[in-house]
Amino acid sequence: MAVISYIEAVTMALREEMERDPHVFILGEDVGKKGGVFKATDGLYAQFGEDRVLDTPLAESAIAGVAIGASMAGKRPVAEMQFADFIMPAVNQIISEAARIRYRSNNDWHCPIVIRAPYGGGIHGALYHSQSVEAIFANQPGLKIVMPSTPYDVKGLLKAAIRDEDPVLFFEHKKAYRSIKGEVPEDDYVLPIGKADVKRKGEDITVITYGLCVHFALQAAGKLAQEGIDTEVVDLRTVYPLDKETIIESASKTGKVLLITEDNKEGSVMSEVSAIIAEHCLFDLDAPIKRLAGPDVPAMPYALPMEKYFMMNPEKVEKAMRDLAEF
């Protein structure tokens, strides 16, 4: 099995799906000739031609809206938002339209689109190239939001998203693009959307997180193991709708839960995870449900000291895990 990077897994999944199904096509800004500003669509323009890898005008609402229309006519569009931060002009199309088409038409129409977008900080992108935007959408029935942590999951989940009959937001951590590598099978596989993945089994404390922070948690779990603290790491993978079962199971088992997100704290997807646990596992808990998150400021600043102050990192994670274990 080849070891490839997170972003290579994106490209691989796109390529394989485009080869498999002639209805799959890509649209977005700079996705064609340039292969994307991060190179996620590198080589696809050459392989599939400009009809299937469309450089669109600079207009996100149209990118989403045109994708929706094409999907209703039988296509399988994969739209790219150049940065997750720039999905905002498309919110009306995503929430009012994509999320509601099946429901409002009583199942007559549906909208199988994927919207990919790089999110997250730590790459010196300042306020508008660092944001986590999932919380904005993680309250809209009809949508699914996938946020994978490993190249293996990227490939399996992106393929599943493209084959899904409903709209999927697929957020890729841009700091993971080249820093995270892993084994990825060459063959065709899909992973289930809506299922969390226990990335590490453990008995003492539970860490629930997603995206880049999964790696911070696993790293810290390794360290803590040497001190006899056995951590379970749950990777949500799909942050909306949440996999309640897995969350409840793990929280009930260890009784000590730490929820980690890189997003601002108030109103993040971790609030919902906490609410689920508080509703279902209260009497199994041995400690308050802890959340480790970004501060409640609009987004991370550009200057390094402030960026670091905001951004999640292995040290912050390890400390919070240790504190919880010692509670």
Partner: protein, 336 residues
């Protein structure tokens, strides 16, 4: 003898069909107001005064393959595309059998996959990029399909109009943008919505032709849309067509239009009611006798009566069915 329709490429039969559909749309619309005012249906949004534009446009399309993305006033257009009076009545009564939404959406939120009437929502103008996407799919699949999307002149000020039209222009897509300019967006008159003489003045900025035509003349609309559709089908790209009409009713059954326009203005507009002028035309062309007209009114009244009765008695969807169809349920069963 009136011959304009022949010059436009319409047969006598077409013209009769058009007239009958227009009349049906009007009578149905009128009935809905009655049902609303008598407390039987909670809401009406109306197409009165805009039927000629709608029907001229619909007849110019290939109703067996083209897609329409109508807005909430397009009763005439969806009737022409195969939605039935009964179905529209079911929607007005919000009953389970309503093909548009199973009673989930307000009336006027059309959608019927089998007739390629694309599901619409309330936020205005979101359908414009969808029409562009459908045209993109047609182009990719090399199918001779055209999509036509309608919207009001107020709605042409939304960003989605601009973004959608520009996308279509750049990619030369077979999509027609049909503005039903009825002079008001709820209470706001045209001159507070746009600053140019015509909505169609925007076409040049998208590299497409723009037309402003008399929306009270179904044949003129037919001709303009037909030419644009033919050109689009052959790869000539999109067009923006503005039809000048007048909204004869208040905005909806919840609106009182006396606060923003005079009764005189409405009365004056009624003298140009497209139904009247088209009736005169059809009669002038020798295609409608007084007798047939009477008969037609009776047929339509019967049809509407029957539909009303049926819809009124039809069952609602069950309360719990509100939980259905958030996601693809086949897949959920598979996973379970």
């Amino acid at each position: 003898m009136e011959q304009k329709h022949k010059e436009a490429g319409l047969t006598d039969e077409d013209v009769v069909n058009m007239y009958e559909t227009m009349l049906l749309a009007r009578r149905l619309d009128e009935r809905m107001w009655l049902l609303n005012r008598s407390g039987k249906i909670p809401f009406v949004v109306s197409g009165q005064g805009q039927e000629a534009a709608q029907i001229g446009a619909a007849f110019a399309l290939n109703r067996d393959q083209d897609y329409i993305l109508p807005y909430y006033r397009d009763f005439g257009m969806v009737l022409a595309f195969g939605m039935t009076v009964k179905e529209l009545m079911l929607a007005s009564f919000a009953k389970a059998e309503d093909p548009n939404s199973g009673g989930r959406q307000m009336p006027g939120h059309f959608g019927q996959r089998k007739n390629r009437i694309v599901t619409g929502s309330s936020p205005v103008t979101t359908q414009v990029p969808h029409a562009v996407g459908i045209a993109l799919a047609a182009k990719m699949d090399k199918k001779p399909i055209v999509s036509l999307v309608t919207f009001g002149e107020g709605s042409s000020n939304q960003g989605d109009f601009h973004e959608g039209a520009n996308f279509a222009g750049v990619h030369k897509l077979p999509v027609l943008f049909l503005c039903e300019n009825n002079q008001y967006a709820i209470s706001v008159p045209l001159n507070k919505q746009i600053a140019s003489p015509h909505v169609s003045d925007r076409a040049a900025g998208y590299g497409m032709p723009g037309y402003t035509i008399d929306g009270n003349d179904p044949i003129a609309v037919y001709q303009c849309v037909k030419e644009a559709a033919d050109r689009a089908r052959e790869g000539g790209g999109p067009a923006l067509i503005e039809t000048l009409v007048y909204r004869l009713t208040p905005h909806t059954s919840d609106d009182d239009d006396r606060s923003y326009r005079t009764a005189e203005e409405v009365k004056e507009a009624r003298t140009r009611d497209p139904l009247d002028s088209f009736r005169l035309y059809v009669k002038g062309a020798g295609l409608l006798t007084d007798e047939r007209e009477k008969q037609l009114e009776t047929e339509i009244a019967d049809m509407i009566n029957e539909a009303t009765e049926y819809a009124e008695q039809a069952p609602y969807a069950s309360p719990e069915s509100a939980l259905q169809f958030v996601y693809n349920e086949a897949a959920e069963e598979e996973n379970a």
